[in-house]
Structure formats: structure tokens, C-alpha cells
């Protein structure tokens, strides 16, 4: 499954609590999820950070990307 574009609503969902629902054993994704939960950044900025993470590590996040449209 291809990575959704930056404008896709899934990134805002992930930034607004959706990261916690992601089933992942990727250590970086788990730690980023925790950082997002504790962060006081505006959701748009969080969404940017999450999107950048998925772009960077796309090759190793196939299982996580498959969940993006069902979160």
C-alpha cells in the first residue's frame, strides 16, 4: 500500500490521538507516539512530524501504513 499524501486526513487523525491506536512493534514509532501524546504542539505540527517519520521509514512500516485508513 502506498503512503497517503501529506494532505490525507489520516495524518491529522494520527496527530489527534490516532498514534496510540496504531498497532506497532517499531521502537521509533512507539516512542514517537509517546512524544506526540505528551507534546503541546498544535495538531498540524504534530501531523507534519508524523508524516515525516512515515516518509523516512516507509520501507519498514508496511504493517503500520496498512492501518492508516482504518484508524
Amino acid at each position: 500500500m502506498a503512503l497517503p499524501p501529506k494532505t490525507a486526513p489520516c495524518w491529522q487523525k494520527l496527530a489527534s490521538g490516532g498514534m496510540k491506536k496504531l498497532r506497532t512493534s517499531n521502537l521509533g514509532a512507539q516512542m514517537l507516539s509517546q512524544r506526540m501524546e505528551l507534546s503541546k504542539l498544535p495538531p498540524a505540527q504534530k501531523a507534519d512530524e508524523i508524516y515525516s517519520f512515515f516518509v523516512k521509514w516507509e520501507r519498514g512500516l508496511a504493517n503500520e501504513i496498512a492501518q492508516l485508513n482504518s484508524l
Partner: protein, 337 residues
């Protein structure tokens, strides 16, 4: 000990104990190296493309070892991509991730109980690029039998020893590979009570147990956890990140890593067989070889790992491990996938 065959080292990277002479030969041949050993051994090494930290404890392919100063442990990063040495002081730690290669990772060593250690532990997870340019590494230690010993790190580019700097190898990987940062934590929350903390601290005075604020030292004593064998296990969105008990003296508990507000902690349940637990964890992982790994001194001591083999991993036994941030009582490894 057999002399090192440098031709062979070009074909398969070294990750093992070597004599001082063989290590010097590798350095002079220009190999990019991460080295660990006793200070008397590391002091003999010439300038080159290497970093090092002090510890006499190791996991090797033949089992856990405590070495003297005739050997050092060498991890050779030849054949991957560009590797460069950079040294940072406590005021420039976020720069580690800024400087890391776009495709690769930063391998950092910092001395136990230094300001760099404390600041990195408290702040690493907030660095802007922390999860885009990963940092792995370890906290340098010392021989626990030598009471007054101090940890040190070495900037191999200048063959200089530091008591409070972070030395880093920035390691680039080939375009078709990317780094996979993994931890093997044999501890799980015991499920008895959830513990929360109000501040980031290596020495929390209070904690919240089911919302009630209590003295942390009293809580540790009530749970019978003063011996430090069982860490606090933090739930970082499913990742189990430990903070280990270092000392319980008077009204103060000192930890080997800070606890953070907003994280659910619990004491770990008892692990009756460390070696079996590690072997089981390795068997459950995909086991393409790691290009680097380290394990914790507390696992080495409490698990009595000297002379025992766990999953074929080899590397320094450390006073703290780094996988994006500081972790405790955990095996950390990097694979190129």
C-alpha cells in the same frame, strides 16, 4: 591469541575482543572503529577514525567476559558508508541528530555520571530529529571492583580521553539499507500497581500510586525492591523502557535513568532465568546479524552472564544503553535492513 588477519577483516567486519597490537594495526589501516576496554588499554591507541569508552565487561560469541588491559573490544564499521568522528559537549547534544547522516545512524558513547549523561537522559526524546536520525550507543562505566574508578570516553580522531563529552561515530549506510534500532527487554510490568511521577528525575522524592501521592523511597521499601534487581518498566506506547534502581539510601532513591511525567510505570515482575529469557527473546526476533549491540551491566551481574552465551550477540556491557534515548537493563542492537 592469534594475530589479526587484516585481509579477512576486509571481507567480514570484526566485532570481537582483539589484542592491543591488532587494534593498533586496524586503526593504522584506516578502519572506522567503535572500541571499548579498560583505560590503560585505550590510552595506548593512536589517533585514527575511532571512538571508545571504558568498561571491562563484555558479551562475546563465547559468552560473557571480564577482560584485563591486554585486550579491547572492537566493532569495525568498514564497508558500510562514510564514517566520521565528532565530539560534543553538554551544550550541543541536540546537534548529534542534526549531524547524523540522512541514511544511517549516530553511535554515541558518554561517561557514566557526567553532565552529558544526565542531560542526554533527560532531553534526548525531545530533540527535533530524534526519530528521523536515530542515535544508539552506551554509557561508559568502570570495573566495579575498583571503588573510586571513573568512566571515560575517547575521541580517537585526536586520541584524547574525556570525562564529560559525548563521542560519536556518524555512520552512513548504503542506499539500499536502513538502520533498524531494536531493544530486547526481558522485563515486563508486574501488574500490581501503576506508578506515575510528577517530574523528570533521576531521584524522584514522590510518586503517584493510583493517584495518591506517596514518598517514593517508602514505596520502594514497601514493595521490597531496594536491591535494584527489578527495574521500573515504563509504557511508552507499547515499548517497555526501563529505569533501574541504583541505590536506596536514607530517604533517597537514585535511578540509573530518569523517570518522566505522563508515563505509566510499574515494577518489573521477577525473571527467574535471565539466560533463558534472552535466548527466548532472540528466538522470537528475526535474526539477521546485528552490526552493533550492547547489554546492561545489571543484566550481566544479576543474570550471572559471565561465561554464558545469549543469542550470539557480542558487544560492550554498559552502565546505560541508548536506543533513541537512555534505557536501562536492556539489550540494544542495530541491524542494517
Amino acid at each position: 591469541m592469534k594475530s589479526l588477519n587484516l585481509t579477512a577483516s576486509d571481507q567480514g567486519r570484526i566485532n570481537a575482543l582483539l589484542s592491543i597490537d591488532d587494534t593498533i594495526a586496524l586503526i593504522r589501516a584506516g578502519a572506522p572503529l567503535a572500541i571499548a576496554g579498560r583505560p590503560n588499554a585505550l590510552d595506548q591507541l593512536p589517533a585514527g577514525n575511532w571512538i571508545a569508552g571504558t568498561t571491562p565487561y563484555f558479551m562475546t560469541a563465547d559468552g560473557g567476559r571480564v577482560i584485563d588491559d591486554t585486550q579491547v573490544f572492537v566493532t569495525d564499521f568498514s564497508g558500510l558508508g562514510a564514517v566520521r568522528v565528532v565530539t560534543y559537549d553538554e551544550h550541543h547534544l541536540p546537534q548529534i541528530t542534526e549531524d547524523a547522516p540522512e541514511n544511517g545512524f549516530a553511535m554515541a558513547i558518554m561517561p557514566f555520571q557526567s553532565r552529558c549523561h544526565e542531560r542526554f537522559a533527560n532531553e534526548a526524546s525531545t530533540y527535533p530529529l530524534a526519530f528521523l536520525k536515530p542515535t544508539v550507543g552506551w554509557i561508559a562505566g568502570f570495573d566495579l571492583a575498583e571503588g573510586a574508578a571513573a568512566a571515560a570516553v575517547y575521541d580517537g580522531a585526536n586520541a584524547v580521553r574525556h570525562a564529560d563529552r559525548v563521542v560519536v561515530l556518524h555512520i552512513e549506510l548504503p542506499a539500499e539499507q536502513c538502520p533498524s534500532i531494536e531493544i530486547i527487554n526481558i522485563f515486563e510490568a508486574d501488574g500490581v500497581e501503576t506508578i506515575r511521577f510528577e517530574d523528570t528525575s533521576f531521584a524522584p522524592a514522590h510518586c503517584l500510586i493510583n493517584g495518591e501521592r506517596v514518598s517514593f523511597v517508602d514505596y520502594v521499601k514497601r514493595r521490597g525492591r531496594e536491591d535494584g534487581q527489578l527495574p521500573l518498566v515504563g509504557d511508552f506506547s507499547g515499548a517497555r523502557i526501563n529505569a533501574s534502581i541504583r541505590t536506596v539510601e536514607g530517604d533517597k532513591v537514585q535511578l540509573y535513568a530518569p523517570v518522566f511525567p505522563g508515563i505509566d510505570y510499574a515494577f518489573a515482575g521477577i525473571v527467574p532465568d535471565y539466560v533463558g529469557a534472552f535466548r527466548e527473546a532472540f528466538a522470537a526476533h528475526v535474526q539477521e546479524p546485528a552490526i552493533w549491540s550492547c547489554n546492561c551491566i545489571l543484566n550481566f551481574l544479576f543474570g550471572e552472564l559471565e561465561g554464558k552465551v545469549i543469542g550470539g550477540c557480542a558487544g560492550p556491557v554498559t552502565f546505560g544503553e541508548i536506543a533513541y534515548q537512555l534505557v536501562n537493563q536492556t539489550l540494544v542492537q542495530v541491524r542494517a535492513v
